[in-house]
């Protein structure tokens, strides 16, 4: 049943997600090509320079919009499909609440991840364009540059192999999941109110965020992540980041599991579609 739910969740949503991601990547490509042919600003007339500036500003607005729209679409879809009249269909399907909620969470997570990657790719393309422009004038050894990056990453973040790479990827994935599941959990909690359920969800969202921030901070201090900031030990930057990322991955993972179970329990036990 989960497979069927996933299939129909994808059918109903993929067009919007893919459209946003494709626009994001294309925009990056266009700006990148533009960057490669970027004129020397001292030699262009002022109106053109202003236009170029606006173009870049527009690109960044587009990046932000891409991320926001994806998130808004995910949250609105989740709310409407479960807790408005559409829920009459969703919750009369012969599937368990766990299956229904899981299908939505999985598809939302993948959509967020793809959006995140497409924004990354888009920015990467822009960077590539400008880097290529730079290399036209000052040829450098690409291998050497990449090697330099690797060393820098090791210096700052302590990324030095498969283990730490996996840690950072896990951190990224959990963070994405964490971000959307707070919305979902807040929406479920809002359903406990007799009236003003949307308002309830909004308030719960801020409350959950506040509570979790405090928990994060306290546990980070407790685990010694912030020792560098407090100068209590002589951690290196990489030790600091590694510890912080590990701590936060674990906290977020626990929070995600808790909110996942909480959402299912609330919906299963207390569902009241009026």
């Amino acid at each position: 049943m989960l497979g069927k739910l996933l299939k129909h969740e994808i059918i109903a949503t993929w067009k919007i997600f893919v459209l946003l991601d494709v626009i994001t990547i294309l925009a990056g490509g266009v700006v990148g090509i533009f960057g490669y042919n970027f004129p020397d600003l001292d030699r262009v007339p002022e109106p053109l320079a202003v236009l170029l500036g606006l173009g870049f500003a527009g690109y960044f607005v587009l990046l932000v919009a891409s991320g926001l729209l994806t998130l808004v679409f995910i949250v609105v879809r989740y709310y409407r499909n479960l807790y408005t009249a559409q829920g009459y269909l969703t919750f009369t399907l012969p599937a368990t609440t766990t299956e229904i909620l899981s299908s939505k969470i999985i598809v939302s997570f993948v959509a967020e991840l793809l959006n995140f990657l497409s924004i990354g790719l888009s920015v990467g393309l822009v960077g590539l364009g400008f880097a290529a422009l730079g290399m036209k004038e000052y040829p450098v050894d690409t291998i050497q540059v990449l090697e330099g990056f690797r060393e820098l990453w090791f210096e700052i973040f302590g990324i030095d192999g498969i283990g730490t790479t996996c840690l950072y990827i896990a951190f990224m994935l959990i963070s994405i999941l964490y971000r959307i599941i707070i919305f979902f959990f807040a929406i479920s909690l809002g359903q406990l109110w007799q009236q003003h359920k949307v308002l309830g969800s909004v308030i719960f969202y801020f409350v959950i965020n506040a509570v979790l921030s405090v928990v994060h901070t306290l546990l980070n201090i407790g685990s010694g992540s912030f020792s560098l900031l407090f100068m209590t030990t002589y951690d290196t930057s990489s030790q600091f980041f590694e510890r912080m990322v590990t701590t936060n991955t674990i906290i977020s993972l626990i929070a995600v599991i808790g909110m996942y179970i909480g959402s299912i329990l609330i919906t299963d036990r207390k569902l009241n579609l009026d």
Binding site: K4, K7, H8, I11, A12, N81, A85, Q86, G87, Y88, L89, F91, T92, L93, P94, A95, T96, Q194, R269, K270, L271, N272, L273
Partner: protein, 232 residues
């Protein structure tokens, strides 16, 4: 042979009101039942509990011998009193969804009925008029071979021609083994289609009898009796 619907001591209360109070109800298979009562008498609450959209405060509800859950959702075909389909989807998308989720769904029947009404299956639901949308929903619901059909106000707010079409669809798709529950406050229009009627009043069952028994005993139509019972 156990009853199709078996409700014992069902109560549903909210913070300030009680929508259903200590309802006991048995309904057998193979009946067309009218669920009658004025607004706020608990009709929709009872229906939503049967469909698993509301949770009872206390009491037990069995459908086809099972507590409300996946097993009962498989055998219940539910028509809500409002539009519940995703407007961005086409009728065909929705039919495909029904094919995947309901083993008892017969797509040929659905396409047949759509064709008779000249409704294009590739139309997006949000482009359809309210009346057409309601017909599409009824077609989907009646194209299942369910054990229990629950139709919440299927004829409210439609013109007489549409009303006849809807009742005709219900009758001509009816399988003698199945039970249909029709909730309505327009009794005169459905009276001749019903086997039994249930009157709900203040969240309790005021009467549960067969239409012909009522007519034979009272010498008046169920509609007339209803008006008497609920006279304000």
């Amino acid at each position: 042979m156990s009853n199709l619907i078996d409700i014992k001591g069902l109560t549903k209360s909210y913070e300030t009101t009680t929508a259903l109070f200590n309802v006991n109800l048995d309904i057998e298979g193979g009946h067309i039942v009218g669920l009658l009562g004025p607004n706020g008498s608990g009709k929709t609450t009872l229906i939503k509990i049967l469909c698993g959209l509301l949770h009872p405060s206390s009491g037990t509800v069995l459908v086809d011998g099972n507590p409300i859950g996946v097993a009962t959702k498989r055998v219940i075909s539910y028509l809500p009193d409002s539009t519940y389909l995703d407007g961005n989807q086409t009728i065909r998308d929705t039919i495909n969804l029904f094919i995947d989720f309901y083993e008892d769904f017969d797509p040929n029947r659905a396409y047949d009925m759509l064709q008779k009404l000249n409704i294009n299956p590739d139309a997006r639901l949000k482009t359809l008029s309210k009346g057409t949308k309601e017909k599409v929903q009824l077609i989907l619901v009646m194209s299942r071979r369910a054990k229990l059909y629950i139709l919440d106000e299927p004829i409210a707010g439609v013109d007489p021609a549409a009303r006849d079409y809807i009742l005709n669809t219900i009758i001509s798709n009816y399988d003698p083994e199945a039970t249909i529950i029709i909730s309505t406050h327009l009794i005169a229009d459905v009276e001749s289609v019903l086997d039994d009627v249930i009157f709900l009043q203040y969240g309790q069952i005021a009467l549960h009898a067969s239409v012909d028994d009522i007519r034979a005993k009272e010498g008046k139509s169920v509609d007339a009796l209803f008006r008497e019972v609920y006279k304000c």
